[in-house]
């Protein structure tokens, strides 16, 4: 085996790559999946769209320790951190397999390309409320007035829904939504969640805010949060700038 010379790269982590491939093969075998159901998404991992889940795969998934994420469940498969994401509705309609470093990217891909469109078809204009309901349960949100300072809370606005949390809960929310950790806390962070739902996150010193809105309402939502950040941070961020979390398109 060749010695690793600095700087260390992802491609040097050969065992992680091998584990991921092993996990994929195990999944194919347990689910008796056709190979056409597997879509490699280099360099992130694999997206699997089984026609149905075999009882064997279903039992195996049920036996794993999973943690809930937005619209999906996450399972850590091995000691090298291979991650398996499973769509919750309909259960197992899509699965994503990736190394731990790529879990937010593969989750974004699943949400925007598979799970989001499925949920839109199922819920249509009720989807936004469904997202709020899910976050409400997860973070004990209480509906309050828009200008209420009590936390955690959510309020209806003219562009969508505004969720207000403590800063630590804000980071938890990022983790729950499988979003990459924010790099610039002085700017609103716009993310396309999927199913025509967008999220805009903003972090102040005392609270974190997350706007949820439909496609087309990002501008008023971003302006609202930008305005709030300007007041909270006591400086003016450059107009029309915001961090954006992109997603890779499925080939």
């Amino acid at each position: 085996m060749e010695p690793i010379s600095p700087p260390i790269r992802r491609s040097d982590l050969v065992h992680s790559e091998a584990c991921l491939r092993k996990a994929l093969e195990e999944l194919i075998a347990r689910g008796r999946l056709e190979l056409t159901a597997v879509e490699p998404v280099p360099p992130l991992g694999y997206v699997v769209r089984p026609r149905s889940l075999t009882p064997r795969l279903r039992d195996w998934l049920a036996a794993q320790k999973s943690s809930p994420r937005l619209w999906m469940d996450l399972i850590e498969l091995d000691e090298l951190g291979s991650q398996l994401l499973i769509a919750r509705e309909p259960y197992g309609s899509a699965l994503g397999l990736s190394a731990w470093q790529d879990v937010s990217a593969i989750a974004g891909l699943l949400r925007t390309n598979v799970v989001g469109p499925n949920l839109w078809e199922a819920h249509k204009t009720a989807l936004l409320d469904r997202v709020v309901e899910e976050l409400k349960t997860q973070f004990d949100l209480v509906e309050r007035a828009l200008n209420s300072s009590e936390l955690p809370a959510y309020a209806r606005t003219d562009w969508g829904v505004l969720i207000t949390l403590k800063p630590a809960q804000g980071l938890e929310l990022f983790d729950y939504s499988c979003l990459p950790a924010p790099k610039h806390l002085d700017l609103p962070i716009l993310t396309k969640l999927g199913g025509f739902v967008h999220s805009i996150a903003a972090f102040g010193p005392d609270m974190a805010r997350l706007g949820l809105c439909w496609n087309g309402f990002e501008d008023p939502a971003c302006l609202f949060l930008q305005d709030w950040l300007r007041k909270t941070h006591k400086f003016q961020p450059a107009p029309a700038r915001f961090s954006s979390v992109g997603s890779h398109a499925l080939s």
Partner: protein, 340 residues
């Protein structure tokens, strides 16, 4: 504007908007009008002064006669609404407000336009609509979300004559048949009730519909044909209706939410072909005829406000703006010209 000509402008709104007045003579020949407008649980109160002596003896007499009849409950809701609009217009004119600004102000004060009341971007609440309107509103909301054009849609509501155009759409929606089962009722009122029942049973919440129409179901519970249709309608809910809809359905669906009222016939045909697979050979004359049959109003009915269509369609080539072939965007055509 005169009190008479205002009636044609507000026809149809009187079913929803209730206007009530109080008037008192003030010094300097001025009359203080206290106007209360109510619409769908919203209420707005305006006090304003008008100088009736400045608008000619005949008109002043008409107003005096109106208030006399109003006090004896002899005026119709439409008359009240149009008189309210006329008095507001007169007051704003006498205050020196330019013509361009008056229609918007009157629309707000009469609750024809409620966008200023903090619900600027809110959807039309479905429970306040008739079942047919609710179906089109639902389809419209889905279109606006999927295309991201909800903000433009809200802005379009502030264009001149939108209330009249929207009203024509609401009336046209009510005339569509939706291919409902034919089951004869004993009276026109019952036929209407049956029509709404089948419609709600097919497209709305089943349990709620069954609860709502319990008395109707009880009445026909011994009728085998009725029970058969009821069972079939519930069964067919799961089946997606892939049959193409007739042109009138598409026109009503697209009229408001797809901005068809403000597009040229060429653009309408183009979008109908792209979005619904309607034959591209359909002629402008056919679209005009269906529009006329449905009594839909569009920009061309208000040429003084719209010398040309207020909206246009921009097509994108493949890859442009990261999109695919066939993508398009609706834009406002020379907005300065149409802004109130």
């Amino acid at each position: 504007m005169t009190p008479d000509c205002a009636e044609s402008l507000f026809s149809g709104y009187e079913k929803e908007i209730k206007v009530s007045f109080e008037q008192r003579q003030e010094p300097d020949h001025k009359t203080l009008i206290c106007l209360t407008v109510e619409r769908r649980g919203l209420s707005i109160h305006s006090d304003f002064l008008v100088d009736l002596t400045a608008c000619g003896a005949a008109t002043a007499e008409k107003v005096r006669s109106f208030f006399e009849r109003y006090q004896h409950h002899q005026t119709t809701p439409l008359e009240n609404l149009s008189m309210g609009a006329w008095l507001l217009d007169l007051s704003l004119t006498q205050d020196g407000m330019p013509f361009q600004g008056r229609p918007a102000e009157i629309s707000k004060l009469l609750l024809l336009d409620t966008s200023h009341l903090g619900t600027q971007l809110a959807w039309e609440p479905l429970e306040l609509l008739t079942p047919k309107q609710a179906i089109f509103e639902q389809l419209g909301q889905e279109y606006l979300i999927s295309t991201g054009s909800a903000v433009l849609f809200q802005a379009s509501k502030r264009l001149p004559h939108y209330p009249a155009i929207q009203q024509s759409y609401v009336q046209a929606a009510e005339t569509l048949s939706f291919g409902l089962p034919e089951f004869p009722g004993t009276s026109p009122a019952e036929r209407l009730e049956l029509e709404l029942f089948w419609l709600e049973l097919r497209y709305h919440d089943t349990a709620a519909t069954l609860r709502k129409y319990d008395s109707l179901i009880q009445r026909y519970s011994a009728d085998q044909r009725f029970c058969g249709i009821l069972a079939d309608t519930i069964k067919n809910r799961a089946k997606e209706n892939l049959a193409k809809q007739p042109l009138d359905f598409y026109l009503v669906e697209c009229w408001i939410h797809h901005f068809f009222w403000g597009l040229s016939n060429t653009d309408r045909i183009d979008l109908l072909c792209r979005d619904y697979g309607v034959s591209p050979r359909i002629s402008e004359r056919t679209v005009r005829r269906v529009k006329k049959d449905l009594r839909l109003k569009d920009w061309s009915d208000f040429r003084e406000a719209y010398p040309e269509p207020p909206f246009g369609v921009k097509h994108f080539r493949a890859g442009e703006h990261g999109g695919e072939q066939g993508m398009y965007q609706i834009f406002v055509n020379r907005p300065d010209k149409f802004t109130l």
